[in-house]
Symmetry: C2
Subunit: 394 residues, 2 copies
């Protein structure tokens, strides 16, 4: 049986994934872009404000006409927001103006309504204003051609507001990597179906799909196959139709009825043992150019395999920052089998990390409580409380 170190298998997987998940751009409507990763610099198509407008409800005047107050001016017209604008302001007159309305030529400041008294066709200005007061100049926020936001930004509501304000219909975002998920095993039944003897509920297809979405991917297919080769083969064909990458669980180990290994080995797949715990049995195949990552079927093995082999590549393709690794201090002693890199489920506590459970690969409740994987190197068999360890932040 073929064997690989974690590094060797990770390198083989990454090479296929990086090709299949080569970063790509798509254009989506601005209102749908919240939470996406911008995938190109965005420049302003127009000035903002696009025309000189009033910051207040009041009167547009020439500052020279209101230098000595009080002064009474004739109101020549009224201009509201949405109006095309008023005629050029004649000296000694005022235009009644609403917030956001275009300021007529000849006017250079706004007198807020609270500093005026309206009279029949005229207005009494009570306080002087300097040129430019309460005027929003064209382009004072943004000039056409300005860089609004650089590629790589994670789009927030405020970015969406800015794109909408300059009238952008679409923006370029990083395309979500597309993943199909197939759980295999004759023992699997869906939630809601009572368990017969020897049966368990399928959690891997649901867990992998959620992991893909949580790391920026899009799930194009979720299926559950028995151990019948024809069924799995057909599902794989269907799954590969819209996906960049297929992830399978189960059917990879040394036993009999290992459907994934049985179907994919003749297609050139590598199946063997990776020196890790949990997650030892692994497979990797390129089917018509589509990488098929085959993880073991134990729920914890499946999720740890996803963390170790798929997550970083997926996030990279999605434009998301890498999931962090960190150093921490063991607060309890651990033992680990020789020759196997071990990923223990752990939890941050004051002073370092503790174990959330033993090494059993079926402890899915313990994994749910964990917030780190504690990474024990292949050649280490015992560690003491106080020792420094590498942790993968979940």
């Amino acid at each position: 049986m073929s064997s690989r170190s974690v590094e060797e298998h990770a390198r083989a997987v990454r090479e296929l994934l990086d090709r299949a998940w080569a970063p790509a751009t798509e254009h989506i409507a601005v209102p749908d872009a919240l939470g996406r990763v911008l995938d190109g610099d965005v420049h302003a198509p127009i000035d903002l404000p696009v025309f000189r407008n009033s910051q207040m409800d009041g009167f547009a005047v020439a500052a020279a006409d209101v230098r000595d107050t009080p002064v009474t001016l004739t109101v020549a017209s009224t201009v509201a927001a949405g109006d095309a604008g008023a005629d050029r302001l004649a000296p000694g007159t005022a235009v009644k103006i609403m917030t956001g309305a275009p300021i007529p030529e000849g006017a250079d400041c706004i007198v807020p309504v609270e500093d005026t008294e309206s009279q029949e066709g005229r207005v009494r200005i009570l306080a002087p204003r300097r040129a430019g007061e309460f005027v929003r100049d064209r382009g004072s926020d943004v000039h056409a051609g300005d860089l609004l936001l650089a590629a790589g930004a994670h789009l927030t509501a405020r970015h969406i507001a800015m794109f909408a304000a300059v009238g952008l219909v679409e923006v370029p975002v990083r395309r979500r990597p597309r993943v199909a998920v197939i759980a295999t095993g004759a023992e699997l039944v869906p939630a809601g179906t009572p368990l017969g003897p020897g049966q368990i509920h399928d959690s891997n297809s649901i867990a992998l799909a959620a992991s893909v979405v949580a790391n920026g991917g899009e799930v194009t297919f979720t299926g559950r196959s028995t151990d019948t080769p024809d069924e799995f083969r057909g599902m794989l064909r269907e799954a590969g139709a819209d996906a960049d990458v297929v992830i399978t669980s189960g059917g990879v180990s040394m036993g009999e009825f290992e459907v994934v290994r049985e179907v994919l080995t003749p297609l050139g797949g590598w199946f063997g043992h990776v020196a890790m715990q949990p997650g030892g049995p692994q497979g990797l195949t390129a089917v018509d150019g589509i990488p098929v990552l085959s993880f073991p079927g134990n729920p914890v093995s499946t999720l740890v395999s996803f963390e170790v082999f798929a997550r970083a590549a997926l996030r990279g393709s999605a434009g998301l920052p890498a999931a962090p690794t960190d150093r921490s201090t063991l607060t309890v002693p651990v033992t680990s089998p020789a020759g196997k890199r071990q990923f223990l489920r752990g939890r941050r506590v004051p002073g370092g990390v503790t174990l959330e459970a033993g090494p059993g690969s079926h402890l899915v409740a313990a994994l749910a409580r964990a917030d780190v994987l504690i990474d024990i190197p292949e050649d280490v068999t015992t560690m003491q409380a106080g020792d420094d360890v590498r942790v993968w932040v979940l």
Copy 2:
């Protein structure tokens, strides 16, 4: 004209919102629960593992029969994952078993296949095993009735995996607060429509909708109304049909053609001036018991109003942690009008916070670059570099 402090208006708004957004539970399918907030303790409906099963491919035996090795045993049967199980193990025999398959009664350990040699109908066991080795006992992960996860958890892929593993179909999550959004203004045109004189692109409806979603809410309606009372009245009726709360922008200030104020004042709405900048003109109405929050129409005023008056209540109802406020140090001097609490757009820099732009409420690009609002109290008119300030983290 009626005036209020920020605290007075915030209290009035919060009172209506807390009633309209009283926390509620809904049940959703486990695969759809990623990212949601658990709204009830979840207990395990079954043991996990639900039956005693094998951790390895190999042979189920009685430890007593393999105490002295090598020893050769008769293979009585084979049991695969998904099989109902094998008959009780007779002393001196072995059952060939696959990972995950039920362990027959009478067997108490598994000898991994790599420690055996298969012969015609028999197996040669090369190494002894102790009782319990490679056995996953029923309930060793979870017992039926155990608390799996407490209310309030933000659901991750690992939680989803655990729920799926115990066969849960649905889980209780906090219902998303439902919000309708209406932008008003005769000057507004949608993105993609060329601007005529005096027109601007509607950004407020898009920005408010994105803000609602980003803070755990669901947008049930998005509309854009001119300043025609009948049009706005009809849209409000439509908007209120499925929403807990309606947020409007524009039409609230002291000018003419203020459609929101005009329509809602006769319905008992409060419209007046809140001592803040930006965002001074505000309105608040209960229409058939549905709160209508009326923000001013400047894009920055709208978004700052959302931060100050709606965000905390929305997040609370959605079960999300409050958006943090913090203390920081000004790295530049600021001035502020007397009697107005000012929310300046700022950005964290080494040593504290700096201003991202001036106080102009139209500077939407500056708001997009900001990561904090700097909160200058009502009675403060000047502050120096080095002064301590409160900031709202965006």
